[in-house]
């Protein structure tokens, strides 16, 4: 569904991605793991057309979407929740959700999407009129994911959805991600919480300083605990 071919991206003077190739199959959760500075966020931002690629291409459903502009990427069916949530803090929860559906004008479709995201995160429905900036960290992340789902994406990209969230809510977020896949969408996830991410993912890539150094099914990556130690600096539990 998504094919990233030999992507090279510069962040200022220094390269952040040195030729990354990656595939995301339909109806799968694919996770990109790696420590800080590995290039995970750069990868998502380049797919979303927020950053320009030096070379390489991004194909989505067999169409070249490299650098077509962030708002057009959304219309093609890719939504992204950025790292650190970036909800619209001065607006209500409902307004945030409606902004998420800005590419969808049909009011009936919007109602449908609202019902869907409320079934995923019932708590948002209780907070509909609340100013988004006053929500807890976990609720803000739920809102960020719900907002991205409002455009009815075929591919949902999540940049560190578990960052800065209470452990109890992390579990809920991952449950929601699985449920999104089970509803027929495809998920590309970037994470530092390796164990939780691999527990729900189908396939994974490991990035280090802008290169893919390992790939495999989630099970293979889970079992290769030495590799995890080596490349991600994680102590086995």
């Amino acid at each position: 569904m998504l094919r990233v071919n030999n992507l090279v991206v510069f962040y200022g003077e220094s390269p952040a991605l040195h030729g990354v190739t990656l595939n995301v199959a339909q109806r799968q959760i694919v996770v990109a793991l790696g420590s800080n500075g590995a290039g995970k966020t750069t990868l998502l931002k380049t797919i979303a057309s927020l950053l320009k690629a030096q070379s390489g291409s991004v194909l989505f459903r067999d169409q070249d979407i490299t650098g077509i502009g962030a708002h057009r990427v959304v219309s093609r069916g890719i939504a992204m929740t950025p790292e650190g949530k970036h909800i619209f803090g001065r607006m209500s929860v409902l307004e945030n959700l409606l902004i998420g559906a800005v590419t969808r004008r049909d009011p009936l479709y919007r109602e449908e999407r609202l019902d869907y995201v409320f079934s995923l995160f019932p708590r948002l429905k209780e907070r509909l009129k609340q100013i988004a900036g006053t929500l807890s960290g976990g609720e803000q992340q739920m809102l960020a994911i719900a907002r991205a789902l409002m455009s009815g994406p075929k591919l949902l990209m999540l940049d560190e959805p578990s960052q800065g969230i209470a452990p109890l809510l992390v579990e809920k977020i991952f449950e929601a991600i699985v449920s999104v896949r089970d509803a027929g969408m495809t998920v590309l996830l970037v994470e530092q919480h390796v164990d939780e991410a691999l527990a729900c993912a189908d396939y994974g890539y490991i990035l280090q300083t802008g290169r893919i150094i390992a790939r495999g099914s989630a099970k293979e990556l889970r079992d290769g605990s030495d590799m995890k130690k080596m490349y991600l600096g994680i102590r086995p539990e």
């Binding site: 962030a70 992204m80 455009s151």
Partner: protein
């Protein structure tokens, strides 16, 4: 008693105009984080449009109003497309010089084309007419039209920003440009529209002023510096703040101008500016 009422009334009318000018300035600033130093010159351009439409076609400024709104909307969009859009990622100083340079360019263009003469529009429809509000309290018809017009247009802009889909996209872009783009908002289009709407506001203000205020190449400076004070007092990015602050500044300017030598009236306005900066830098309704 009549004197105080008269001052309140005149201050209110002037204040409503200030509000409208400041709302336009604030929309551009809120969305773009760029201060349009040429905002006053947009006002001047609008007033000259009224003037020439009156001289050539005898068109009353009241009827020129929609033309000015449309023309200044286009001017705003044009300035964005030709100038501002090219320096979005440039250092702040470059952006300041760009709008400052535009200000000097428009002022000197007006001087070159139309000389430094003060011109007035003596529109037979409204000029010199006034209504009696109470015994001894009068309001000129041009001023009445300007005050009412500014109030209505500011209200419409407020509704546009707060109650429509487009306004929601504007506010989202103002809050977080990258997140707005990720939602599918064409931020470049929103930037252009913010310049268009900001221009339309000041275009309307120019047409409303043209009915009773002298028109000359530097007229923008009078209103623009005051509009900056209004924006600071009301709070950067706040439409409602700019509205109330505009009325306050209008009342202060007319009030103090009536009881103290007129030369000092701006001292009180800038006194408010300094007080705001020291005591409440985010302004009356600004976000911290």
């Amino acid at each position: 008693m009549e004197e105080i009422l008269q001052i309140l009334l005149s201050g209110l009318v002037l204040g409503l105009i200030f509000s409208l000018v400041a709302v336009g300035l604030n929309i551009i600033f809120g969305v773009m984080d760029i201060v349009n130093f040429a905002h006053g010159e947009f006002l001047m351009v609008s007033m000259y449009i009224c003037y020439w439409l009156f001289v050539w076609f005898g068109l009353s400024p009241l009827f020129s109003l929609p033309i000015c709104i449309a023309a200044l909307f286009l001017l705003g969009v044009g300035v964005y497309k030709l100038l501002i859009g090219r320096i979005l990622s440039a250092p702040m100083l470059t952006q300041i010089f760009a709008t400052f340079g535009l200000m000097l360019f428009l002022q000197n263009l007006a001087l070159f084309l139309w000389s430094s003469d003060y011109r007035t529009i003596q529109d037979p429809l409204i000029f010199g007419k006034k209504i009696t509000v109470l015994d001894g309290v009068f309001l000129g018809v041009p001023q009445l039209a300007a005050g009412a017009g500014a109030l209505v247009i500011t209200g419409l802009v407020f509704l546009l920003i707060n109650k429509t889909e487009l306004g929601r996209a504007l506010r989202a872009t103002a809050e977080d440009k990258e997140a707005a783009a990720l939602m599918g908002i064409n931020t470049d289009r929103i930037f252009a529209l913010s310049w268009g709407i900001g221009g339309a506001c000041v275009g309307a203000a120019g047409a409303l002023l043209a009915g009773f205020y002298p028109i000359f190449p530097y007229v923008g400076a009078v209103f623009c510096t005051t509009a900056f004070v209004v924006v600071v007092l009301g709070g950067f990015g706040s439409i409602a703040g700019a509205f109330f602050a505009g009325i306050i500044i209008g009342l202060v300017q007319i009030g103090f101008g009536s009881y103290f030598p007129a030369a000092y009236k701006m001292a009180f306005v800038y006194g408010i500016y300094l007080l705001t900066v020291f005591v409440r830098p985010r302004g009356l309704l600004g976000k911290s």
